[in-house]
Amino acid sequence: MSEGFDYLFFLEVLTGGLLSGVMYSLVAIGFVLIYKTSGVLNFAQGAMLLFAALTFVSLVERGVPFWLALVVTFAIMVLIGLMVERTVLRPLVNKPPITLFMATLGLSYVIEGSAQLLWGTQVHALDLGIEDIPFEFHGIFISQFDLFAAGSAALMVLLLTLFFRYTRVGLSFRAVADDQFAALAVGLRLPRIWATVWAAAGLVALVAGLLWGARSGVQFSLSLVVLKALPVLVLGGFDSIAGAIIGGLIIGASEKLAEVYIGDYVGGGIEGWFAYVLALVFLLIRPSGLFGQKLVERV
């Protein structure tokens, strides 16, 4: 990098970063949904993603048509949501968040195990019919696939925002996350709310799982993409869908730029933690993320 600054390259890295960021956001949104209604980080989101992708790809490989497979998988995700509500959330109502968090960890074992038990441990290729081949745009290579992913993310955010804005469900979600005991007393149907939101999270997991699966193959490590989503959540705020998007873009872009421009000085491979440190620095300025709801406390 001795010659002058290569703007085109910078732009390319930036674009690539932003588009990767969208992929992170896709995963992060699933977390946000659950956090909004239970105040809990759902660690099983990664497992759900894996489950959805694996189910879909296995169905397709067994000759089920694309759209039918999509519908069936979604139906199964809804079923999982219902079961989780019944067997995990309902008995753990009004328990401290950390207990629920641990339960979601246990849940991730169950889901991962079932996924592999059902569909085997093989890796699969997933072809969504969208080429991941770049086209050139003013000297920058952009992949169709990334654009498609960005489009899906945008659509999902739009849907969820409308859902929260124009139904009263949003209010009950927030109430439940705030004080479960009071929510019970007020007569909110926690089971129904949770089942809904887990089904929605299942849908998000399906979309994210398909996109990530198409990129990296459908295999166990798909459940590791959650690690990419966590700093996004911290940065954007656990309970903000907009935050998940903005956070994803910021993390994606700065992580790539850091790897390319700073990585050399410390020997590279800093992407693994850079996002976390960035999020941390950010948090010190805004303790509940960019768009997260502030903790309300008074004496």
Binding site: Y35, G39, V40, L41, T87, V88, P91, L92, K95, P96, P97, I98, T99, F101, M102, A103, L105, G106, L107, S108, Y109, V110, I111, E112, G113, S114, Q116, L117, T121, D178, L227, L230, P231, L233, V234, F238, V266, G267, G269, I270, G272, W273, Y276, V277, A279, L280, L283, L284, P287, S288, G289, G292, L295, E297, V299
Partner: protein, 349 residues
């Protein structure tokens, strides 16, 4: 929203001396006398190291209320620091290396504990992941830490304590046991002292704690330091007494979760819980796999069996959380009470 159980069954009271004494007796005498090599090598060693780590984490998460997902990083710091002290400082007794390593872990703990002064709940928890990933990266990246071993793996030196060599699996067992006993006693003393009460005060109500003159910032950092110290020593035991060789990847996020699991399943804010939880987490998968193979090995192929075990393990964790959110310690106490009342009613009736 407060992240911790508001009704943790605390056992800050003096426990009867009889219980711990019996346990120590069993650990020091019965296990070596009657335990097989398998029990000692494959069960007791990881049990001891993980228990100690959980004791450490419990000080931080259970008592002081700061959730950390980075415990494995501090274990790694402890292991690699002890390795380097021992390697690079000629003639330094091994125990001193290990204690210094604990000190290094404590220092790193303080650095990564600084965010706790501003962050709470899951925000803090996720921020401790920075420690997890950064430490692992640094240990892999800089060959110096592993004495430029091409595989980044460190090998354990021979164990000795006060000039006595601890050899063989029994020797290593005693080495670990002595250190665990001492540090647990220390942790228990701290937990039941004013410092421990300050931890709980900060956890339960920070504002009130500050107002009555608990130095909140100092207390939080002290919790991070103490906890990291103990976890660091546990890491050294894990590396030196148990596995005898470790690589940074051995201290990954799963390990952090495992320790947190132990703390939660055992019971927040109980020292006993750390041991009960560790016993469960260490023994459980082993029992599950042996029983599984024994009972169903002929029916299913091993892949199916292994997968089912993972499912069962996850399900059991959930069941435990549902049945006893206060942890095994509370469960044990309840059983104890029940047995007590039954014997009493028997003797009366």
């Amino acid at each position: 929203m407060a992240i911790l159980a508001s009704e943790t069954v605390t056992t800050l009271k003096h426990p009867d001396w009889a219980g711990p004494l019996a346990v120590l007796l069993a650990a020091f005498v019965l296990v070596p006398l009657f335990g097989s090599n398998y029990l000692i090598e494959a069960i007791m060693m990881p049990f001891l190291a993980l228990s100690l780590a959980a004791v450490g984490l419990n000080l931080l998460t259970g008592y002081a209320g700061q959730v950390s997902l980075g415990s494995a990083a501090f274990m790694a710091v402890g292991a690699f620091a002890a390795f380097n002290f021992n390697l690079r400082i000629e003639g330094l007794p091994l125990v001193v290396s290990i204690l210094l390593a604990g000190g290094v872990a404590a220092a790193v703990g303080i650095v990564f504990g600084l965010p706790s002064l501003r962050l709470k709940g899951f925000y803090l928890a996720v921020s401790t992941l920075a420690a997890q990933f950064f430490v692992q990266w640094a240990l892999t990246k800089f060959g110096w830490f592993s004495n430029d071993n091409p595989s980044g793996v460190i090998d354990a030196p021979a164990l000795s304590l006060l000039g006595i060599a601890f050899e063989g699996s029994l020797g290593r067992y005693y080495f670990a046991l002595i250190i665990v006993t001492l540090l647990t006693t220390l942790a228990w003393r701290v937990a039941t002292s004013q410092t421990g009460r300050n931890f709980v005060a900060v956890r339960d109500n920070e504002t009130a704690a500050r107002f009555i003159g608990v130095p909140v910032l100092k207390t939080k950092l002290l919790a991070f330091a103490l906890s990291s110290f103990i976890i660091g020593v546990a890491g050294a035991l894990w590396a030196f007494a148990y596995l005898r060789t470790v690589e940074p990847a051995g201290f990954n996020l799963d390990r952090s979760f495992q320790i947190l699991f132990i703390v939660i399943i055992g019971g927040l804010a109980t020292i006993r819980g750390a041991f009960l939880g560790a016993a469960l987490i260490v023994v459980f998968p082993v029992v599950l796999s042996q029983v599984g193979t024994f009972l169903l090995g002929d029916l299913f192929d091993s892949g199916v069996l292994d997968m089912s075990q993972r499912i069962v393990l996850g399900a059991l964790i959930i069941v435990f959380l549902i049945l006893e959110p206060d942890g095994l310690a509370a469960l044990a106490q309840r059983l104890w009470l029940r047995i007590g009342s039954r014997t009493r009613s028997l003797s009366e009736g």
